[in-house]
Amino acid sequence: MTGWFRHVSAMVASVVVSAPAVAQAAEPSPALQAEQSDVAQLPAMGAHWVFPYTRTTAITIYDGDNGHVLGTIPATPLANNVITPDRRTIYVTETSWSLVDHGDRHDMLQQFDARTLERVRELALPPRALVGRKQQNFDVDANGKLGFIFDLSPASAVTVVDLSAFRVVRTVDIPGCALVFPWQSGGFSSLCGDGSLTNVAVGTDGKASVTHSKPFFSADGDPVYEQSLAERAKGDAYFITYSGKVMKAHLGPQPVIEPAWSIQQAAGQPAAGTGVQELAWRPGGTQPFAMSYYNHHLFALMHTGTYWTHKTAGTEVWELDTQAHRLVRRIDLPAPAKVVAVSQDEKPLLYANGENGNLMVIDLQSGKTLRNTHIDAGAMTVTPP
């Protein structure tokens, strides 16, 4: 592919047609000149680019400032993607069958160049977990050296990939546990069914050492969301329960977990419980949380409901100061949303994927809704780190 592509790129000259300046001039304007086909390249990735999953075929890259499409990364409903901390590379994990719904199964890690969107290389993987898209199925550590890919076949495991050598280092079984929350470097933690963490350090020799933390939540009583947040740069995680309790953790072989605080109490309301008839503002969605890491403000999709509404779309986004444990503001959404994301600059844009397939873009400085456009947005949206 690449060889042919270079060949064509070399063939095409940069002949540009200048449009006639005056439309209906008395003397005939010169005829337009022939054009050559070329291929667009992208500038360096901007903080306001946004990567929603669209339909069942692609991650479509939008410019959040003007709403233009910048490009397309192929992605079936089974795909997951990660933008590396240096924003130069986009990784996609993908599973496909050679004959659409049968034939040989291929589990792949694909590396895309963020400027050309060319598929630079790809790596065959052990079978990945085939579950709903979420960032916690696949992530990389802060220095972009190791990738962690959740497997479920149906036994739980994580495939560790050396991203420089682009090879599978090893697959680590994590029975009873799931998902990946990367450390700052050299490892990851997974959430377990007994309310604990399993912590896997991967040495430079490729060997894995595993520790188990004590239980700090109850999977039956008030489970931690799969879509809890990992701050790669610091190796921190923000574990959030169905009822809205937030526990900050510093991840590593011996994770340090801070006491829980309540999103609802931070907003001056009673802490929400787990009653199936207990009405409260509650988090929900397929990507219910996002964080602005420069000021550690948490954005949570909130709706009114009882317990067991953890997948229900949010009508508001609550911005919470995770250091002061207090509500900053409540943002009314133009339409109920299942996904929230936020840009990582200091003039942040907030993104929400509506249940109706719209991408909503809200300027967090002015509070204004900049756009609310149907793009067939799906269950996940990624922003550049």
Binding site: L125, P126, G132, A155, R170, D173, I174, G176, V210
Partner: protein, 182 residues
């Protein structure tokens, strides 16, 4: 590459689970060199029974559930289904559409039948091996009563429960009655 190992492990586990052998013993038997925690999920039915031991208040879903039309999301057995109802795709509440295959393993929900006020264990078996059923949007459900994260896989409805079939491509979801929860 451990691909073939995983292929085999997956297949082995699946078959054993389908035969009702406890997952704990299987994982121990698999003798993996890596981690074994104490947090192994119990067998589906055992777990569902354990959940039932707690006082069971009636959820909003339960209150509104109907027992007449199994092709709607509010049919009582669909208290925690995520996907397309096979009854809208040429199948039925426990029947896969022609050309698809029921997964031998499934996840488990507990739903209340409004007719006899009993709670039943429901096996949400996916039908697999064919591209997604293109049925009416009314048949795409995502309910969530007692649905737990993927680290409790047998109570999670986000997993494609197509282990052990010819291909793990998801087509639709059934809600077969497994037994009473009491």
């Amino acid at each position: 590459m451990t691909e073939s190992f995983f292929d085999r492990l997956g297949e082995k586990l699946t078959r054993k689970m389908a035969q009702g052998i406890s997952r704990r013993s299987m994982i121990a038997k698999a003798g993996s060199a890596a981690v074994v925690t104490s947090s192994l999920p119990l067998l589906p039915v055992q777990r569902a029974q354990a959940a039932q031991a707690q006082p069971a208040a009636v959820s909003d879903f339960d209150r509104r559930a109907q027992s007449t039309d199994p092709t709607k999301c509010d049919y009582w057995r669909h208290c925690a289904i995520d996907g397309v109802l096979c009854g809208c795709c040429g199948g039925g509440v426990h029947t896969c559409p022609p050309g698809t295959q029921p997964s031998p393993v499934s996840w488990i929900g507990t739903c209340r039948n409004p007719v006899d006020n009993r709670s039943y264990v429901i096996a949400y078996r996916d039908c697999c091996g064919r591209t997604l059923c293109n049925s009416s949007p009314d048949c795409h459900c995502n309910t969530e009563d007692r649905e737990l994260p993927v680290y409790r896989p047998q109570a999670n409805n986000d997993i494609i429960w197509c282990f052990g079939g010819s291909s793990a491509v998801y087509h639709c979801s059934t809600a077969a009655l497994v037994g009473q929860a009491e």
